[in-house]
Structure formats: structure tokens, C-alpha cells
Amino acid sequence: MHSSNLRAFLDRLIDGLLPLLSLIAALAVASLLLIALNADVGQAYAALLEGAFGTQNAFAETLVKAIPVMFVAIGICVAFRANVINIGGEGQMIAGALAGTTATLALSGAPSLVIIVAALAAGFLAGALYGGLAGFLKAQFNVNEILSTIMLNQVAVQMMNFLLNGPLLDPSEQGLNHIPKTARIVAEAQLPRLVIGLPDGTLLFDRTRLHYGLLIAIVLAAVIYIILWRTPIGYRIRAVGYNERASRYAGISVGRQMVLSMFLAGGCAGLAGVVQVLGLQYRLQTDGSPAGFTANAGFNGIVAALFGGLNPFGAIPASILFGGLLVGAQNMQRDLGIPASLITTINGIVVVFVVSSQILVKWRGRRRAQQSTTRTEVPLDSPIVVEQQA
């Protein structure tokens, strides 16, 4: 009994560490690429680590990069729990940013709190409707949500390019070679910088770009957690995600949960967009490329959500890890002159390894159920096999 308890503990420890191990494995593979480029691997990773977490400012930048990823990832938890594969974080984020920025610009002159709350609400709603649209198409016409969300991403990018080059263009940028961006938002609309005062009087994150978006993300994670596990709404979303047939039997409207889960997921991504504007850029700005505004947060959020075990509170540290990778990689590029495309490649390798590690955790769970006495909550039979009650 004693030794089996120890084994259970070790098993769970390994499961917990697997994502981290997979990250290390990914970096090991990436180092082969570095060697091929004649770069000093140790130096490169030292630069990465230093750039991500080395100084207060570096860590703040990591968090700044992680904030939009967090918002998207928290939303993805909802969609994926309903078994709706939302790839539309990018588009929903843009929709939220457009609505939030428009609201902010329209309300300049109003009290600070009014503008910020209205902008967040507008951003949430726009993202939610945009996500909900894909959910509606799936529920009503059985349109595959992966396809529809990817297409809606394109639509959103084009819409943003159009609006930022025309109706929403900053009046001071009317030249031929203008940068597509809106007017700067008023100071009252800007989210304050987040500085943490320690008891001994030192200030943490003083003079960095870290903003209140981080706190909003943490609050959002709590709200989504409560919705998913403490309310009938979340119960139904999870029920539909696990078993549509039994949900229908129970009187749960499957279509409605799909729309709702996409609504919530889109809303969270929408918030990512507004918060990026209110907290960091102070205007909506793009370079015209698809990721010009989002910096791929809409996609990275998916991986962070999976990495975090589709739990909103797991999504936060997972996003920070991703932020660190992004910021650290920039530093690696700057210090060692490693080409930017390699950074993208390393990113991709990490994604593949992380997702695989999730599969490995599930597989280990199944094996355990088979052979030992340890606690497990993973299906006993392989997932391609459908049990039918006799």
C-alpha cells in the first residue's frame, strides 16, 4: 500500500512535469538547428532566458506579451470544453479591438471609469458576437467551425485594414504613405501601469510597460472558472463537450451550448483586443499583415489553453511561458544575430512538443488504469473505441 502511494505520487509528479519536460525537449531539438547555423547553443539559450526573465523589465515585457494570450486562452478553455474547436481567436480579437477602440474614441471626454468599462464591454460584445456567429453557423447549418473561424479571421483582417485606412484613420495621417492606425486614445481611457509596492518600500515593475490588463485577466480566469464548474451554464457546456447524445437526452439544447461557448470564447478574445489597445498601444494599429495587430495571440492562446489543461487558471502560467519564449527569442535574435525565421521555427517546435505532451499524459493515464492501483480519471478504453452499453 505504501509503495503504491509513492508510485501514485511519482506518477502525478511526472504528469505535472511533462509539459515542462516537453518544453525542454523542444528546446533540445531546436538547439540542433542552432548548431546547424553555427550558433553557440549555450549562449543562445542564456540569451533567451535572460531576455525573458533576467531583469524586472524583461519579466514585465514577458507579461505584457502574455496578457493577450491569456485572454484568448481563457476563452479557448470554454470553447474546447464544449468540443467546439475555435480557431478564430485572431478574428475575434480584432473585432473586439475595433469595437472597443471605436467606443473609446466616441466617448473621449467622459470620466475615465466610464470609458474603460464601456470599451471593455464593447470589445467583449463584438468578439462574442463574432465568435457566436461561427457557433451559430455550426449549430444551425452544421458548418464546420474550424473552417468558418479561419475564414472569419481573414474577414476580420480585411475589415480592419479597410477601416484603419479609411473611416478610422488617424486624421493626422492623411498622407499617401500613411501608417494604418486610429487616433490616439485619450489619457483617461488608458489602463494604468501596474506597479506593485512591496512592504519594504521597493517598487516592483516600476517604469515598465506592465499594465492592469494582467489583473483583468486574472479576474476573468476566476469568472470563467466559476462559470465552467460552478454554474448550470458551465455544466451544460461540459456535458455537451463530453457527450452530445446524453446531453440531448437530458434536455440540454446542444446547439445553444455551442453558440454560447463560442460567444464566451469570442468575448474573451475580444477583451484581448481591447486590452491591447487600452493598456499598451493606446491606439489600434497594424502593418497590414494578418498578425499585424494580434502578433498571433489568437493562435498562441489555443496552445496555451491546451498547455494549461483547458483550465483557466492553468492558462495563465502557460501564457506567461509563451510570452517568455517570444520575448526571450527576440533577445536571442538581437544578441546573437540569429535569423527571425529560426525563432518562428523554434516556436513551432515548442507547439508540437507541448501538444504531444498532452496526448502523452492522457496515454499514461490510460496505461495506469490498466495496470496499477493509482488514482486515475482517464478513460480506460482507447478513445477510438466506442463503448456501447449492452
Partner: protein, 516 residues
């Protein structure tokens, strides 16, 4: 290759399990069990729900690994670490919960995991051909080219048996094979089994139906709470002695029924038709009225429209004409949620697919319909976890459901215990109209008796009950009237007092109601 003869290397003269122990979190499922089976023998395994029968067999089949103990084949210690190894050693198993891939055809399902003679390519035509031979020989009829999702449960089981035979099982484990079969099909299965033992195979047979065990087996091993009570020869055993061995106390096997206290019209179907999964008209202009305080039993060979009938009433299958009314109110086409508010409860036939969400805990499953309603929500929008847990704990106590606790994922309960939880949930909702499809399928005798008593209690309280069962004894014991279905129609409705098994049996085979 002749399918009758047993390949030499796969013959098993004697298989022994010695001192097997298997611990699950909170449950000692198998506790130092010795078990032995010989070639040419049908060895029955008996025990209450959760006694450890399936677990012991899954260990033999390599699906679970025992914590202690050994398996000896013909005296040689043999480690069976996986189903693949089991099949290699000639051990086959047909599971309590089928393991077929619904989107694949019968032949493809059989071919899964087989080594093909054409390297990496599947030779499906060869598989189909041998499959046809096998089904011919054992009279197990299925079309190899039909996708499995189109098959009724009884047919799916034939596929499972064929698959095991195809792989050359010398020892075949059948985990509750008769739970899904009609008496007719049971007879056919038993012929198959006898043919197989005559061919020198060994069979382990699990069932909760004592008359079947008495009829087909040569020896019986009884498990209780994971321990072996005894192994006895079948000759000399009686239902009563077996029941007592299983439960540990004498069991009442018969119970009296009070006369019906028939109330007003509750459920009314008028010329209702519906499509089956195959897209054919599976339910043809069925008209039926059920009154409060009565049980209408639906008898029929599986696949004659009973499933469609239940699903149409429950709002899970659209009608193709006709109307359904509850308490005089037209409810045709209403979604399940609205029907539930009108007091409809439904115990579905396929409990693992329809009745529960496997990944959810017992407590979560207990409030599948009512999680958004009164006692289970607090502050208007939050789940009242305490109330949910308490309600589930009450049900577990009341129905004697074997589970480590309310927070255990329901998929780790034994089949019969899952059924008890579904039953407890549906009855706790105080239904006005109750559709019970195969309510005691896979449930042990003690619990069956309890479920029957509860159905009779509901009847006494004025509930209108539609009881769909392939167990004619159950129908005869509980129903006030018996409706017989054949090819999607109700061919006749007989008051139980006038019904005879012979007459019902004839109607199930398509004979018109003889007016007496």
C-alpha cells in the same frame, strides 16, 4: 480452412487463475480469487453487481493487470499483459460494453487488429468470405458490409462473437451476453455455445439470469464482494441456493402484484410513425393509450420498433406523422426539456451512450436533467454542490449502489451499478409518465427485485409506465396490459390476466392477435 477444428497451438485444456488480487481506488475489486476452466466446459460466473466478475475477466484478457496472482495455461505460468497477448494464447472476450467502431462495417471491425496476408493492405473480401462461412456454420447472421452503427444491439453482439471466433478463440469469455438478447436469440446463442464446447473450446459465461446459468453451464463459480464464495457443479444447484450464495441471504424471487388502480388517461399516441436509424419507417402508425397507475409492457423481438417508440415519446426522435399527447396536451415535436417539465422520465436502453456522461462524477450524473432547477441551484445562478452531493448520496444509500463515493467518475462503476444510478435518478424526479427501456438489463437479482418493487410503487402512486423489455418474464410479472410489437407496429394489446407466454411469443413472431 475448416472453421470447426481448433488449431493445435491454440488449444487450451485447462486454464487456472491463482490468488488474483486487483485493487482500485477505494475498492478491492478482486480479492485472492482462484478460478479454473477446462476445455469442453461452460463455466458460469455469478455474482451481484460490482462483485468483480468483469474485473476478473478483464485481467484474464490482459486489459487490467493483477496486483497479485498468476494465470496458468495447461500448467504453465503465462503472463497475459495485453489483449493482443490474450488473443495469441487463444483467449477471446466479448465485453459487457461492446467495443466496436460504429462508423466501420462489420468486416472492417473484424479485420481491426488482424494480420493481413497481403502485408499492409486489408483483404476485406477474404475477411467477408470467412465471416460468411462462420456465420453460416454457427447460424450467426450478419451482413459483413453494413456499418456497425446501423445494427441493433443484438446484432452488434453477434459481430463481437464472430470476431472472437474469427481470431480463433479456444477460450471465450462472454460477459453478460444474454442481457441484450430475446429468449429466441438466447436459444440460438446456446446452440452456438454448445457447438463450440463440442469443438473443444472452453467458455466462461457471465449472466444474472439464474435459469440460463442452470441450463447451459456445467460448473458455477460465485463471487461476492471480490471474493470467491465457492465453485460448484451445476447439477444439484437451484435458483434459491445460487441466489443465497450470491447475496449472502435468502432472496425473494417472486412477488405478488396488487390489482391495478387505474386513473385517468396520461399518455396517448395516435397513429405515430417515425424513421429508424437506417432511414426506413421503423415505427408505423402506432396508437396506444396509457392510464395513470398502470404498467403497459411492450414485448417484441429487439429491432421491431421498441427503441423508436421510446425515443419518439421522449422527444429524441422526430415523428413522421401522428400525434402524442400527455395529459390531453399535444406534445408532438416538443423538445425533451419541455416534456420533462410535464413529468416525463425516460430510462434509456443504451445507458452508457444516452443515460450518463461517462466522464462526469456520480453526483454530476445524478442531476443530468435537473442541474438547473430548484434544489440544485443557489443564489439564482450557482450550482448548489452540497445539495447535489447530498441527493446523490441518498440515492446511493437507498439503491445500494456500489461506488467509492459521489465524486467517482461514473465510468468506473460496474454496469449494473450505473443502471441503478440512472434508475434512481429517473424515479427521484417523481415522474407522471415513465418510459423504462430494459430497466433491469445487466442488473443482479437482488437489485432487479428492488427495481421491480420501485416500478410497482410508482404504479401505485399513479404514474403511467411504459415498460419495454425483452425479458418476457419481467413483462408478464409487472404489466397490466401487454402490447406486442412486430415490424414497427403494435400487433395487439392483451390484458395480462388473459395473456399466455405462448400467445405473446406467437404474436412476437408476427401472428395476429387471436381474439378469444
Amino acid at each position: 480452412m475448416a472453421v470447426s477444428s481448433l488449431a493445435e497451438q491454440q488449444r487450451i485444456d485447462q486454464l487456472q487463475m491463482r490468488g488474483i488480487v486487483k485493487q482500485f481506488p477505494g475498492v478491492l475489486a478482486v480479492d485472492h480469487v482462484d478460478f479454473e476452466v477446462r476445455a469442453g466446459e461452460i463455466h458460469a460466473l455469478l455474482g451481484e453487481n460490482g462483485a468483480g466478475k468483469s474485473t476478473l475477466m478483464k485481467i484474464l484478457y490482459g486489459l487490467y493487470h493483477a496486483d497479485e496472482g498468476a494465470v496458468l495455461i495447461d500448467g504453465v505460468d503465462t503472463a497475459i499483459r495485453s489483449p493482443y497477448a490474450a488473443i495469441q494464447r487463444g483467449v477471446g472476450m466479448v465485453h459487457q460494453h461492446f467495443m466496436l467502431v460504429p462508423s466501420l462495417t462489420v468486416a472492417e471491425n473484424v479485420a481491426l487488429g488482424l494480420k493481413s496476408s497481403r502485408g499492409w493492405r486489408l483483404d476485406l473480401d477474404v475477411v467477408s468470405k470467412r465471416l460468411n462461412e462462420l456465420s453460416e456454420r454457427y447460424n450467426l447472421k450478419v451482413d459483413p458490409n453494413v456499418p456497425v452503427w446501423q445494427l441493433a444491439v443484438g446484432e452488434q453482439q453477434r459481430v463481437e462473437i464472430l470476431r472472437a471466433l474469427y481470431k480463433g478463440a479456444a477460450l471465450l469469455i462472454l460477459d453478460e451476453p444474454t442481457a441484450v438478447l430475446t429468449p429466441q436469440e438466447v436459444d440460438e446463442l446456446f446452440q452456438v455455445l454448445e457447438q463450440m464446447t463440442a469443438d473443444g473450446r472452453a467458455i466462461i459465461f457471465i449472466s444474472h439470469k439464474l435459469h440460463e446459468v442452470l441450463r447451459i453451464s456445467q460448473r458455477i463459480t460465485v463471487l461476492r464482494d471480490g471474493r470467491r464464495v465457492d465453485t460448484i457443479p451445476t447439477s444439484g444447484a437451484t435458483k434459491a441456493t445460487l441466489a443465497e450464495m450470491m447475496v449472502g441471504r435468502p432472496v425473494v424471487l417472486e412477488y405478488e402484484q396488487q390489482p391495478s388502480n387505474r386513473g385517468g388517461e396520461r399518455l396517448h399516441l395516435n397513429d405515430v410513425s417515425a424513421l429508424s436509424n437506417r432511414g426506413e419507417l421503423g415505427l408505423k402508425e402506432v396508437s396506444l393509450t396509457i392510464y395513470g397507475g398502470e404498467i403497459v409492457g411492450v414485448a417484441g423481438v429487439s429491432g421491431n420498433g421498441q427503441t423508436e417508440l421510446a425515443q419518439v415519446i421522449a422527444g429524441l426522435r422526430p415523428t413522421k406523422g401522428g400525434t402524442i399527447a400527455i395529459d390531453g396536451k399535444d406534445v408532438t415535436g416538443k423538445p425533451p426539456s419541455q416534456l420533462q417539465l410535464l413529468g416525463l422520465s425516460y430510462i434509456p436502453e443504451e445507458r452508457m451512450e444516452d443515460g450518463v456522461i461517462k466522464e462526469f462524477t456520480c453526483a454530476e450524473n445524478f442531476v443530468l436533467q435537473d442541474h438547473g432547477r430548484k434544489p440544485y441551484v443557489s443564489a439564482g445562478f450557482l450550482l448548489n454542490l452540497r445539495a447535489i452531493t447530498d441527493a446523490c448520496r441518498d440515492a446511493i444509500r437507498q439503491y445500494e449502489i456500489k461506488t467509492p463515493g459521489t465524486e467517482t467518475p461514473i465510468k468506473s462503476l460496474s454496469g449494473g451499478n450505473i443502471q441503478k444510478l440512472v434508475m434512481a435518478r429517473e424515479l427521484s424526479r417523481h415522474p407522471q409518465v415513465l418510459i423504462a427501456a430494459q430497466p433491469t438489463r445487466g442488473v443482479d437479482i437482488g437489485a432487479s427485485e428492488y427495481i421491480h418493487q420501485r416500478l410497482l410503487d410508482e404504479r401505485r402512486q399513479g404514474t403511467a409506465i411504459l415498460l419495454i423489455s425483452e425479458d418476457l418474464d419481467e413483462i408478464m410479472a409487472l404489466s397490466d396490459r401487454i402490447a406486442v410489437m412486430y415490424e414497427g407496429r403494435i400487433v395487439g394489446i392483451v390484458p395480462r390476466a388473459q395473456a399466455t407466454v405462448r400467445q405473446i411469443g406467437a404474436m412476437m413472431a408476427g401472428a395476429e392477435l387471436e381474439v378469444s
